[in-house]
Symmetry: D2
Subunit: 346 residues, 4 copies
């Protein structure tokens, strides 16, 4: 039985981690960390857990945790995980960081986009970017995982095959993304009130969103060169789900079958990436509550562009689910353990 500690267990991603790990046969949560709710029963924060979780919330004590558990998930604001890890910690416990601290290899880029000084740049190189379908082998050996951002996961998986296969022009990529509101977190902010979000849609962070360099880095690896792209997220009146609609110019005439073959090459054997049938567009509702990413594409011969689409649950494959998938890989378990949820509809 893997002993698990969670730092930041009372945010939406933390709550989802708890939901998933409670159904995991080989893991057991030993530490519900939440600085805001210390000594409060966890179920008082999340009443869905009533009579399921009886533990109290505890302080965020990485040292104590490292002695008591096998793996720590940090579902915390940017900067916190970097301030907590050390060689001693990593020698005792595996760390899966759901924040952005170790996602970007170039520390200067991180500091520019996040406006934070990085407290542990010495571990950036070692950290493995936990996009399981792309980096599976490195993840298995990692001590420190940078769990990918929600938008980067969906964007990268949707675009990766065509970039890797050289079918699209990396300089023409535009990603228009739409997210449910749980992505904004559980902080009590006016902008996230029901009446402000409901019956409304808006773009935010236009040309400045911090997931941009993360996507650029990952797609840059696929392209084999640095790339610059446009990424525009939108806030949608729904709880869960990310949909990305990406555009790129085709480098040559391609048939449906050729593009399809590119997707199949990378995803045919993947449990959690589903390449949909021709002309079926991904919908966030079809993956809700599950670890799936549904992808598909449409060639537009009129403009010689391809439209790439991907849908996933931002709290599962976009956060807690992928974190569990990473844990499974790191501990040599069945990669899908605890992640067999059938999407819930409606």
């Amino acid at each position: 039985m893997i002993k698990v500690g969670i730092i930041g267990a009372t945010g939406y991603a933390g709550g989802e981690l708890v939901r998933l790990l409670l159904g995991h046969k080989e893991a057991e949560i030993k530490w519900y960390g939440s600085r805001s709710y210390i000594d409060k029963k966890y179920y008082e924060v999340y009443q869905n857990m009533f009579q399921i979780v009886d533990e109290k919330c505890m302080d965020d004590n990485m040292e104590a945790l490292a002695d008591q558990v096998d793996v720590v998930f940090t579902a915390t604001p940017q900067g916190l995980c970097a301030s907590l890890v050390s060689e001693e910690i990593l020698s005792k416990v595996k760390v899966i960081d759901l924040s952005a601290d170790f996602r970007i290899k170039n520390v200067k880029t991180y500091e520019e986009w996040y406006k934070i000084e990085h407290k542990a740049p010495q571990f950036i190189d070692e950290a493995v970017y936990g996009l399981c379908e792309i980096n599976r082998e490195q993840i298995k050996k990692a001590r420190l995982i940078a769990n990918p951002g929600c938008y980067p996961t969906c964007s990268t998986l949707s675009i990766y095959p065509l970039l890797k296969e050289g079918m699209i022009d990396p300089d023409t990529i535009i990603i228009d993304a739409k997210s449910g509101t749980s992505g904004a977190g559980r902080g009590a902010k006016l902008d996230n009130l029901y009446c402000e979000v409901n019956e409304n849609i808006k773009a935010y962070g236009v040309a400045t969103h911090r997931h941009t360099p993360e996507i650029e880095e990952q797609l840059g690896y696929a392209a084999g060169k640095e790339i610059r792209l446009n990424f525009t997220p939108h806030l949608v009146p729904m709880n869960r789900g990310i949909l990305i609609t990406a555009y790129a110019s085709l480098l040559r005439d391609v048939t449906y079958e050729e593009v399809r073959a590119a997707y199949d090459k990378y995803y045919e054997k993947e449990r959690f990436v589903r390449v949909l049938d021709k002309d079926v567009t991904p919908q966030t509702k079809w993956v809700e509550g599950s670890n799936y990413v549904d992808v598909n594409f449409k060639i537009d011969p009129r403009t010689k562009r391809v439209i790439m689409m991907g849908a996933m649950d931002n709290l599962v494959k976009g956060a807690a689910g992928q974190a569990v998938q990473n844990m499974n890989l790191m501990f040599g378990l069945n990669e899908a353990e605890g992640l067999a949820q059938v999407p819930m509809f409606p």
Copy 2:
């Protein structure tokens, strides 16, 4: 491995049965019945099932089914199940009917409220009303289960202890119920269009809803006499969830502890009924996707009434989940098998 057939697999309750049974370790779906979609792949009707279910939809053939499976779930319009069962069928296969055909013992009452002639009145007496927490022992021995309606399940469980313990006046019961829109089914009706339901709330079936006699019968058993009550359902702009708010006059002065003890007497050992802590009101979101019913109450000393509240997921405990719970009981399995889902929040 229990072999399962579903007649009506493509309605919302049918789809939920599939979702739950796919996670059930001792059951296997052998027949996805759906007259409307014969020969169509099931996942084409519910894309969430893509790469999970590969079977095609089949006709609703009860005879063929009875030879091939151990249990048949009928998630079909009123009247269909009654027209399909016979002594021969019931001698071969167990039947769990999610429609109202066998819920009401008085056939005349059924025919008056449902405006249908009952095609198999000879089985009404034998049929067991599948409210597991109340009728557990009879369910274990049954061939034919009348799976309770969504509103009656939530209403009965919320009110039952106080009626049984003689604390409330049966002639004063008023049930004000609120349901998500999946309860209205997947039929393409103008009233259920997004723009008609969204940003709207209304009562419907006022003083005439067909779940009324079902609730009256069940609560009548608890009261030990015939009762008449008011039941008013409302349509709420959300997918899932039923909340009931029930009112009754107290027959004597009671303390919080006495009423609490009455609830505990019946539910303390129940896995799926959670009596919430004092002053915590049930919320539908806290049970979403799970088989839980959350109940609680509030004494109003000013009016000498008690307000009883219950929340559950109408598609799980209110339909497919309870049906699976019944199956587990009938086949001697762990009652909670396949029903361990932690409620999903948000």
Copy 3:
């Protein structure tokens, strides 16, 4: 041209007042009071007002206001208005208070339910309860209006005729109310976050909600005696709208026509109360954005009760619209001026 000042112009009710007054031909807003946003452009708080309102928010200065305007609306937290009025103020300016400060004639009752000391009890007797359809003549002569609460407006108008006509037993009244989330205000609280409210319904303030004594007082006038009733509000995932479903025992056998005649007696000539056709149930969407209250009823001969229903927009007839209606009456204008909005659907 009536000069108008608003104290509390940036809450949801304040914003609605601005929307309605901008379309009023005989009123002009001279003062957008908002302590939280002093010196900020009003349209920066409410971007819908961009290029429509150019004024800045100002402090809440009742003295200055009284010298500059003809009427002051206070859309502020409980207790503030009472702390601002004085004989001098009321001799200079009419005050329409959207808070509860002057709604309840018994100061002890107010202080018990609101847990606030009343700062101006000497004006409680003078204040007129601004339920226009009931107190029209007194309103015309008032200096100080207690604008009714949202739930009390809808509850009272739905029940009043049958109580006044002696058709129902005052001791059996139960009011089950449902409200959109704008009723909770624009404060940044966790409970009102999109993800907490969406796909959810719950009761709150069960047996303790502060609108209870207000409803009891108003219905007591109709009954000609003190009454105690149950009032249970629920939070519904929608922006606007209140629906009330009220129950009471009939004191004698009545026909549809008799009950209908009772409603018509009071509302036939009312512009803003619509008694719907037989068996048409009120829906909040049918009155959205307008000053209408839609009411109807259903007799249940089985239980000898009547179910009374009412729907309105909580921000219009439930707050800002009724406040404008009161202003129109106080200044001898057409009662419907500025309130001719056709409900918006969908």
Copy 4:
């Protein structure tokens, strides 16, 4: 008083026309045409109109209408208006067609995208594309108006200035659009059921949506040459509102002030197009219920692209509101008559 007839008065756009015209001081609706509801009271179809509209629905009789009214609005499926107009009709009555029949000058393009034979190609040249801000002078003199599509209105107005001023490369335009569900109409289709749309987002009509050639034609006029672009609409779980996010490569280095000046050049004096302040992104909620289009832009120096954004209410400026605006221009009235609604928030 202008006498108005509506053919197709019971769709969502038709209902919105009624709402707006009821508040129009110089127009009077004489004919509520609705083939589906002949002889039914209009308020029985739209209960918001109870006690406001007393007329019955009538058949779609263009000949009779032409003799009785001054202007006919056709809010009908594609092809119907073209089958009804004739020289005789147009000599008697002005026609404002809310369908696509006369929007596209190239009849072959129309027939290819709409898969319908055009029944009145002889009037295509005469018809004026009723985008008021662009074609105001021709509209004033027109007999037949092609009221623009919802997506084309928002897309064209958002992009027009930069194309006209030669700032962006016409071959790089990508339009990612998001619409509320009222755009899908009031037909009882499974895809538009509450439970299918709610908590979901998807793209549809990818690379094939019929508004594509309409947008290309209009932007082609601005560019002075034929253009091909990508247009991808998405269905959003909300009733009203369209948001477009458009991308194009800048043809040269530009400052914020230069781009802003381009927008101001065309829209500074426009009542219904609001160019927002720097870094304020358009939100559909800020224009709900009104005839406004809010536009803004963001320069991305990293990619040398500009992101252009626009938000409007699809049923107002995207349909009925613009139709009324066209009527006002055609009859020499104040262009904003009947369109002074302040956006409703929340």
